[in-house]
Symmetry: none
Subunit: 159 residues, 2 copies
DNA sequence: CATTCTTTGACTAATATTGACTATTATTAT
DNA sequence: ATAATAATAGTCAATATTAGTCAAAGAATG
């Protein structure tokens, strides 16, 4: 890679365009079709750009609304400094997560002062066996993994 | 949550208009056609706004009267204590819970000082669409209901 | 070549807007 | 009083306006 090379593809251009705006603003609210029109691509390409380049790992959260006056909002979030614990926990969780392992994770979070007592309680309630039980143990473990990862990702930043 | 900027659609504007009045008053009594005229929409759109944004889950009670001198009255609801808030929210959740309704509930919890910002964030992460998506929308709504109820029940003890 | 990334578009989903028709209540005429 | 009319609000389904998903085709990369 050299210096200052022209980004070749349109997705990169769109990414750069949005990030330039985000350099001066905490968030942007766009109309999907407008941006698509600006770069002369199909609207769904905007979703592609967002899904590949504005993830939470990159420090962005995205929300949207359909219907009249619909929009996509991209928000820059401030990633916390002591994220290592969270990252390694996320990395360690695979496809599935047992009840036992999930409790260990919650305990670790608490021990590291990443969550308080009430938050422990809320998280345990969210992954409670009865809440996510669908008569299929594999499915329950998958759900537990998904929910836990989602929560850990939330803990990575503050608004 | 909160800081609203440039709502694009008219329903949002009407919602904000009414809520601004309600910020200073316990209730408002409106004439449907008047509000409709103010925003230049058909009268039934006022019903749409009320049905989607002034539900009991949102913390409002609405009553109305037809005929000459008819009106719609929107009243802020006062729940007696925290347990009542939780109980009525739990009662309002049936078998399934949409994303939209779940967000309303979380907002209500926050407005009633039952949870703080971080807890809002954690709960929303737990019921995030991607976390509980199993390629079946009904199932997702069922899971969301289960998880939300589980959390609400936990909050009853965790004061 | 094989693999991964990008581009495209047909189909789906969510939300908002509109208006025709209905229901209820108040007022006026008989 | 009763009936007719006017003045409201409610319901519901059609249409409009967005954004999302997914898989296939094409391009780039190694």
């Amino acid at each position: 890679m050299g210096d200052e090379m022209a980004d070749e593809n349109i997705s990169d251009l769109i990414e750069r365009y949005l990030k330039e705006i985000l350099a001066d603003n905490e968030q942007i609210k766009i109309r999907r079709s407008e941006i698509a029109g600006l770069f002369d691509v199909v609207p769904s390409q905007i979703n592609y750009v967002i899904n590949t380049r504005f993830t939470i790992q990159n420090g962005y959260i995205v929300e949207s609304k359909r219907g009249g006056g619909g929009y996509i909002r991209i928000e820059k979030v401030h990633l916390l400094d002591d994220i290592d614990v969270l990252d390694s926990l996320i990395a360690a969780i695979g496809n599935k997560l047992s009840k036992r392992d999930s409790e260990t994770i919650v305990q670790t979070l608490y021990n590291n002062d990443l969550i308080d007592r009430r938050e422990v309680s809320i998280i345990l309630a969210a992954i409670d066996k009865d809440a996510i039980d669908l008569n299929n143990n594999d499915l329950t473990d998958i759900l537990r993994a998904n929910i836990m990862i989602s929560i850990l990702n939330r803990l990575r930043y503050e608004r």
